[in-house]
Symmetry: none
Subunit: 376 residues, 2 copies
């Protein structure tokens, strides 16, 4: 992880240097790597901006002023819309995203920034998805959510929105990364989905509020989807699918790439099968993803393991009377846990909070708790 200087002005909720960071994000594309390098080196954002702007527009002070004014307008618009901008130096800036070569200087967000704190997996795929792809996306997203894994996607039609919805149905955490400003939801029919996501997780964009969803923004948006995630799962990508861009970004960022196989006759899975051909891990179920992340007993063992192997695996996990009452992936409410454990809810709650702090259980919607499988 790159070390990031925390600026004194990066107070959550009131980033004094927001306009500097926003201005940096409005500079031309060739500035991105020098900006990231300079910020990582600890240079204050306004100095980075002055230097880059002076190199690009040495004799055009009006151009530089226009960028500053655009940045100011973006900040005002964010305030008016109650967005939460998270600048690069903000402690809430997602650590995994900060580690990519060209992290966005600002993330404009709506929802809970803590959504980025847990383990995240991206699920991406076809917009014109088959019923099969939608079923798989929903099932994988739901299964990941119930095991305490957050799901990142792009709010697009098809696989993306099926994945978001699968998480929401399981009261899990999901993050949508847009290819437009946060106030210009695309596609428009997903506006209410975006609101639901903001309530249960986070909606994110590196583009200043008001930015329209131009085609050129989506390929770069994809690096944020993979950059937030530990792994990218591709479902039903054709030959030229944008999901393959996300997969390439993931590889460049050192994240795992996984793909779901499917029908070889429809032509719909050529991209996903191409990834498998190139060494992506094959995904049949959420177990395969968790196994790749080193977060559960091996999927192979769960598929074919003997009773003895299973017992041996179980023995490696610490025994806890409350954990023993929880089935991994199945949220339980306080009354159910009390009944199973024989402990009064008043005694149970402090223990559950301890387990939550230890990362052994997660709190999910409806006051329920879910056990998180530990790495084996």
């Amino acid at each position: 992880m790159a070390s990031r200087p925390t600026s004194s002005s990066a107070i959550p909720g009131n980033p004094a240097d927001l306009i500097d960071f926003a201005a940096l994000s409005l500079l031309p594309s060739w500035c991105r790597l020098p900006i990231a390098d300079a910020l990582r080196a600890g240079e204050p954002p306004h100095e980075v901006f002055e230097r880059c702007a002076a190199r690009h527009w040495p004799h055009e002070p009006d151009e530089v002023a226009a960028i500053r004014s655009k940045a100011r307008a973006a900040a005002d618009r964010a305030t008016a819309q109650a967005l939460t901008p998270i600048v690069w130096s903000d402690p809430r800036y997602p650590a995994a995203l900060a580690a990519i070569v060209d992290p966005p200087p600002v993330l404009w967000t709506r929802g809970d920034p803590a959504a980025c704190d847990g383990a995240l997996v991206a699920i991406v795929g076809s917009r014109a998805a088959s019923p099969y792809a939608l079923s798989v996306a929903t099932a994988l997203a739901t299964d990941l959510a119930t095991r305490g894994i957050g799901v990142v996607s792009g709010l697009a039609r098809g696989v993306d929105s099926a994945a978001h919805r699968g998480v929401l149905e399981a009261d899990g955490v999901t993050i949508a990364v847009l290819g437009s400003g946060l106030d210009v939801v695309y596609p428009p029919e997903h506006a209410s989905l975006a609101s639901d996501i903001a309530r249960r997780g986070l909606v994110v964009s590196e583009l200043v509020p008001g930015t329209p969803p131009l085609p050129e923004f989506f390929p770069r948006r994809n690096r944020i989807i993979s950059g937030l995630s530990r792994a990218v799962v591709v479902i039903e990508a054709g030959d030229k699918s944008g999901s393959l861009i996300t997969a390439r970004c993931a590889l460049e960022q050192g994240r795992d790439v996984l793909a779901v196989p499917g029908n070889v006759l429809s032509g719909r899975n050529r991209g996903a099968h191409g990834l498998l051909r190139d060494g992506a891990k094959i995904v049949e179920s959420a177990d395969d993803i968790l196994e790749e992340l080193g977060m559960c007993r091996s999927a192979e063992a769960s598929r074919s393991g003997s009773g003895m192997e299973r017992e041996a695996l179980a023995e490696r996990r610490p025994h806890d009377p409350i954990l023993d009452c929880l089935v991994p992936g199945e949220p339980s409410d306080l009354d159910e846990i009390a009944e199973r454990s024989g402990l009064l809810p008043s005694r149970l709650l402090p223990r559950l909070m301890e387990l939550e702090l230890a990362g052994a259980v997660a709190r999910v919607g409806g006051g329920r708790f879910v056990r998180i499988d530990r790495p084996c």
Copy 2:
């Protein structure tokens, strides 16, 4: 390739040592490797038989005589049924099969032994195959046949017979390896398919004529399917599929293993996906198989082929508005096809029957129809 001494008695059509080889094939299973080693070392078959029989039945001359008599009866039966026995020392004995550790001492055959001379690929898979698996098996077999590759399979219901039929439709060469004597075709409803195969290729068994199709014969039969072939392609194998035995034999024999991916929700492809997980090459089309055999321009090139090539391919396929509404391998009911095509069910049904007669669609359970992909 092991060197094989050609005996003066191994005259094609009249193998004088047939009874010795047949007797060797009737010895108990523990004799198989010593027999293969002795034959490879140039020991005459009757000496190998005397030695093995004396070790197994040192004081039971009647048992030994019974084996000899069974072997003689088998040879007579083969003559009566105009079978062609090919003994291990026969120059027509398939070279690839002679290279495995335990080649059958005799192959009882019907058809043209030269069928084994070209490049052969095995296609094996589920007996209770889905329409998708049948479509893929047919399409791959047809494509391989039209490129001059012979297809080996096991004459079973489902994928095996679809592969044989795909080859026959393309006037190609196919080889069926039975798990019973050549005169006891199993399953019985494939008797006429077996006759068709004998006319266009070869039907083969290591079991003497009259042997019933006992379950224990099939796993060993599978080593002949892979032993004849340069590669084994597995289509729709579940967790415990016999096709996985064929795949394991192929690996032990140093042959390539390939697998066709499919639906991850049905559970039908767990075995095939397991093979992919273990490093089997993924097959979407015959190109992938030929590429693995080093026999064609790279599948990658043909996949990303120029627009002109694709147009040329597309032009060879007839366009049909109803076919265009059907995804190969995915059954659709009348209402779904009506909705997609915009045609009334009353107008649709006669057209679907025409397409069925033309072999372009098949009727599957629940009044649904599935498109059958034609070779391009």
